[in-house]
Symmetry: none
């Protein structure tokens, strides 16, 4: 390794901060000489002496980690911020990303994964714990978030064919359009739809589609 990646750590809990520092310093290609127990100290010091990567705890006494990033990022756009948190709270994730954080990982990640992540971050990537990535992807693109295992079990009572038809109804297709696309008679489609209504306990397309898209 030629020049090592210079890392700073902002974390109020002594044991975690020291473990992280030991981990980073013990690994080849990484150096951590700057650690801070609060955001105010970090802000002051990192403004003057920037580093490559900052591991930033979110929940800090006084100013929180997100606010600290918001202030530091504009001053040193090249400095990469990796938010470290215990919980993948949705709001915090977005707030942090908007503030300019580049990466977001859960503290329960393995040491090896953490070091990988630091390197990826330094190389221009945005490593994220996958559960956090799900939130980002889901909300940003308005994708129906299935996530939970206990989602619409109601739809399980539908047959594959019924789901197929319902999928097309959800796009605003008429009976006839569905029939044409599936190469069956409109009567058949209507029969299927009728069966779907019975199973889902609804009486209109919109209501059925709402259930289908989990909008109930």
């Amino acid at each position: 390794m030629n020049t090592p990646i210079i890392v700073a750590i902002v974390e109020d809990k002594d044991d975690i901060r020291q473990s992280l520092a030991i981990l980073v310093n013990g690994a080849d290609g990484f150096v951590c000489k700057q650690t801070y127990v609060n955001a105010e100290d970090a802000l002051d010091d990192l403004t003057r002496y920037p580093v490559d990567v900052v591991l930033m705890d979110i929940d800090l006494p006084g100013m929180n980690g997100i606010e600290c990033v918001r202030l530091l990022k504009p001053r040193h756009p090249d400095m990469q911020f990796m938010m470290c948190t215990i919980y993948d709270e949705e709001e915090k994730v977005f707030e942090a990303l908007k503030a300019g954080a580049n990466s977001f990982i859960l503290k329960r990640s393995s040491p090896a994964r953490l070091l990988d992540a630091i390197r990826e971050l330094h190389d221009g990537g945005s490593p994220m714990s996958s559960s956090i990535a799900r939130k980002v992807v889901g909300s940003f693109f308005n994708v129906p978030a299935p996530a939970e295992a206990e989602r619409n079990t109601e739809l399980d009572v539908l047959t594959p064919r019924e789901r197929e038809i319902l999928g097309r109804l959800s796009k605003g297709y008429s009976h006839k359009e569905v029939a044409d696309e599936l190469f069956v008679s409109p009567t058949t489609v209507r029969k299927h739809i009728f069966n779907i209504y019975e199973k889902l306990q609804v009486h209109t397309k919109v209501a059925a589609v709402n259930k289908y898209l989990g909008r109930v």
Copy 2:
């Protein structure tokens, strides 16, 4: 051991497809019995026989992988799609995620990383190669709420009354039910709905509701 994760592979190149299948089947807790050389076959078969996780190549002959996801995802919201690609092209990433893809990894990922990713995906995460995550994060605050802004402008052409009525349609109400609730005649409601259709350029309730709920 618990139930294995059922995986399907859509990939036109024989060697890659077979390697992937061997990798998946060779690992503990994974099973892959369904592989497809094109999107059309996958679409047809997976509609009827859904699996847990689909590894989807983007560049396929005929229909591409993104289009395939767009069609399959609404039918089986629980099915998880992992896009596999060689390049991290920005547009494709967004397009795929908007289409409903849950995960996005580069083909050069290691076998171990791939298997990890499949498991994380199945557990509700959205594993992404960090270079791809960077693009997602980047656009996150570059373009402040693009989807919402776009959706809103479309709905802005509607009058408050029209939005009120559309909101009730989105709950599956009939003309008459809306009329009763708003204390106006059904004819009026129909006129409003007609105007809404004209403004939103649609011809059915479901299509209008889709626009209203930003599911276009």
